[in-house]
């Protein structure tokens, strides 16, 4: 799946057109986007070794991942290892600010150095001009120094660059690469949620194809071969030559060997009977309903009459107390009372208790024990 993007990367630039720029935007789900990036990269590599691609070489600039991630053996198993010249790595991971190198000799910063494994270590990513030169140098090397051939440039994350440079500087840097005659495609990854929406739209504006990764927190499937490690969808928007935009949504999941595309039905299952909530022996949190239920529990000492507020007779506000009783209850209560008399002449069985009035304080302010000297 996502074949159209693969095709676009493979075909590169057409006559009289701008170099296609593919922007891969993720938010939060780093694992998925990294694997999708790798998926496109492997696809391109296969096409290059098969001779089907316009580009004859690849330059991968690693900002966020160690180069081991890209150069593991699985990628090169088809090709013989001696002819890896077409695959060039630029390492902006190990020493992006030159702390390692300058501390060693204390002298002026060395701009770059060759890694023992053959990749280039950039010592100062704050210098974009130099970085451009390195990329072009490596590109030339990757095409076997043939001036007529083109190469592809891949960035594992542009977000690191955006930490050091302003947005115009980064766009300008990308644009320089894009307008270079030797470049066939540019693919970069950015973490959308790390940046302002303005920055993200600028990146979208700049690129020809925008792929947004939307990950699913829960992936379920019935098939047994499906070892779900996460998944989600790719929203691919391609700006076409005629001015239309084609949108396509692909679904994927992460397998042990990388990204696997699958139809949506295989990835998103309608919620079956079993829930995904982990089974617990006990639960210290309360659900909303439990909370409600608990709030509704009438505690033994609470007044249990139909949710009425409890009124304790304290010698005052008698009228209020009796009026608050429902009419029927009131009448029956009156019947059971010892010779109730509305006029109040017969006060047999009543206890007279007059509480101190409210405005008088129970005691004076003074501490009664204050004068004691024990």
């Amino acid at each position: 799946m996502a074949d159209s993007v693969k095709r676009q990367i493979r075909d590169g630039v057409a006559e009289g057109e701008q170099v296609p720029v593919v922007c891969l935007l993720d938010s939060w789900d780093k694992a998925a986007s990294m694997n999708i990036f790798k998926h496109f990269m492997t696809g391109l590599c296969e096409n290059i070794t098969g001779g089907r691609a316009q580009a004859k070489g690849v330059v991968t600039v690693a900002f966020e991942l160690p180069q081991e991630f890209f150069t593991d053996e699985s990628m090169f198993q088809q090709t013989d290892s001696s002819s890896r010249e077409w695959f060039q790595m630029i390492d902006c991971y190990s020493d992006p600010l030159g702390w390692e190198e300058s501390a060693k000799d204390g002298a002026d910063t060395v701009a770059f150095s060759q890694h023992p494994t053959g990749s280039l270590i950039v010592r100062d990513i704050r210098d974009l001009e130099r970085l451009t030169t390195f990329i072009l140098q490596c590109g030339t090397a990757s095409t076997g120094h043939q001036t007529s051939e083109r190469f592809a440039v891949l960035f594992d994350s542009i977000s690191v660059l955006l930490r050091f440079h302003s947005l115009p500087a980064v766009i300008n840097f990308l644009n320089q690469l894009r307008s270079h005659e030797r470049v066939s495609t540019v693919l970069f990854l950015a973490h959308a949620d790390l940046h302002d929406p303005r920055v993200v739209s600028a990146l979208e504006y700049f690129s020809t194809t925008v792929i947004s990764v939307v990950s699913l927190p829960e992936v379920s499937s019935e098939s047994e071969d499906f070892t779900s490690l996460g998944g989600g969808s790719l929203r691919i928007r391609q700006k076409r030559r005629n001015g239309r935009v084609r949108e396509q949504i692909d679904w994927f999941y992460l397998g042990l060997s990388g990204i696997i595309f699958a139809p949506k039905e295989r990835i998103v299952q309608p919620k079956s009977g079993k829930s995904n909530v982990p089974k617990v022996q006990f639960n210290l949190d309360l659900s909303e309903k439990e909370r409600e239920d608990r709030a509704n529990v009438i505690l033994p000492f609470e007044h249990q009459g139909n949710g009425l507020e409890s009124k304790i007779y304290d010698g005052r506000e008698r009228a209020q107390l009796s009026s608050s009783l429902p009419a029927a209850e009131k009448s029956s209560a009156q019947e059971t009372m010892l010779k109730p008399d509305a006029s109040g002449a017969n006060t047999l069985g009543e206890i007279h208790y007059l509480r101190d009035s409210d405005d008088e304080r129970p005691d004076s302010d003074e501490d009664p024990d204050d004068d004691l000297d024990i």
Binding site: L97, W99, A103
Partner: protein, 251 residues
């Protein structure tokens, strides 16, 4: 599960494990737990940046758990860097100091050089283990790095990048760091929380129970694996005993 973390994260070079806690529930016990596990059950060297507590604090807890940090320190398995050690460069215009300031305005660059020196110094290459000995850098806690860097979060991110890229005998170091969730909950630095998450391979979040602090259950730990595979392992309850940690998975 927490028990797997040692193999899964700490032993993998270049990986970063972030522990985030809050005022109500301290997360340092996880750091201590991983430290003891690493020292007792693997042959990984640990370089620890003790920015909060002195060595005696860690050593005393470790002793209760049957591990002598002092002897580990003596034989080079455990390197402890105190804050005062890390910051001595600043202010006393030595040659090193001059170099440091000349190549970076980041005060953490000097700290990094110290860490590298400690990590690379007296590495014992064990012939029995292929590929030499791995190193794990522990930071307690990373929010102090912000203070050293004068509040510039980019400086801290650079420092962490260098720590994870640090190679000792061709083996990349792994990084375990403790930080606080609530110190970044404010714009415009709110991106720091996210940036840390992007840098991390695994994030452990330590929270108190919503029902409050209790004597036998102190809180809950959520494990989130971010790279290789996305996986959230929710709500593990933990109870801390004087000698041991109990993790009760909510499963």
């Amino acid at each position: 599960m927490v028990e797997e973390l040692v193999d899964r994260v700490c032993c993998r070079g270049g990986s970063v494990l972030v522990i985030r806690d809050c005022v109500a529930c301290k997360g340092c016990f996880l750091l201590q737990y991983l430290l003891i596990k690493l020292l007792m059950e693997t042959n990984i060297r640990v370089v620890m940046l003790g920015l909060v507590e002195p060595f005696s604090h860690y050593a005393r807890i470790a002793r209760k758990q049957g591990c002598s940090l002092q002897s580990m320190r003596d034989n080079g398995r455990f390197v402890f860097l105190e804050q005062s050690q890390l910051l001595t460069l600043q202010g006393n215009g030595t040659d090193d100091e001059a170099n440091v300031t000349s190549f970076s305005d980041n005060p953490l660059a000097a700290v990094y050089l110290k860490v590298r020196e400690a990590a690379r110094g007296n590495v014992v290459v064990d012939p029995a283990v292929d590929g030499g000995q791995k190193t794990c850098i522990m930071i307690d806690d990373a929010s102090v790095l912000d203070i050293i860097a004068g509040g510039d979060h980019n400086f801290v991110l650079d420092f962490l990048q260098y720590c994870r890229a640090l190679t000792v005998k061709k083996q990349r170091c792994s990084v375990v760091l403790l930080t606080h969730q609530d110190v970044y909950e404010e714009s415009p630095v709110s991106s720091m929380n996210l940036a840390l998450e992007y840098a991390a391979d695994t994030v452990l979040t330590v929270e108190p129970l919503s029902t409050g602090l209790a004597v036998d259950v102190h809180g809950q730990v959520t494990i989130l694996h971010r790279t290789v595979q996305m996986e959230i392992q929710p709500s593990q309850l933990k109870a801390v005993d004087e000698q041991e940690l109990y993790f009760d998975p909510v499963k």
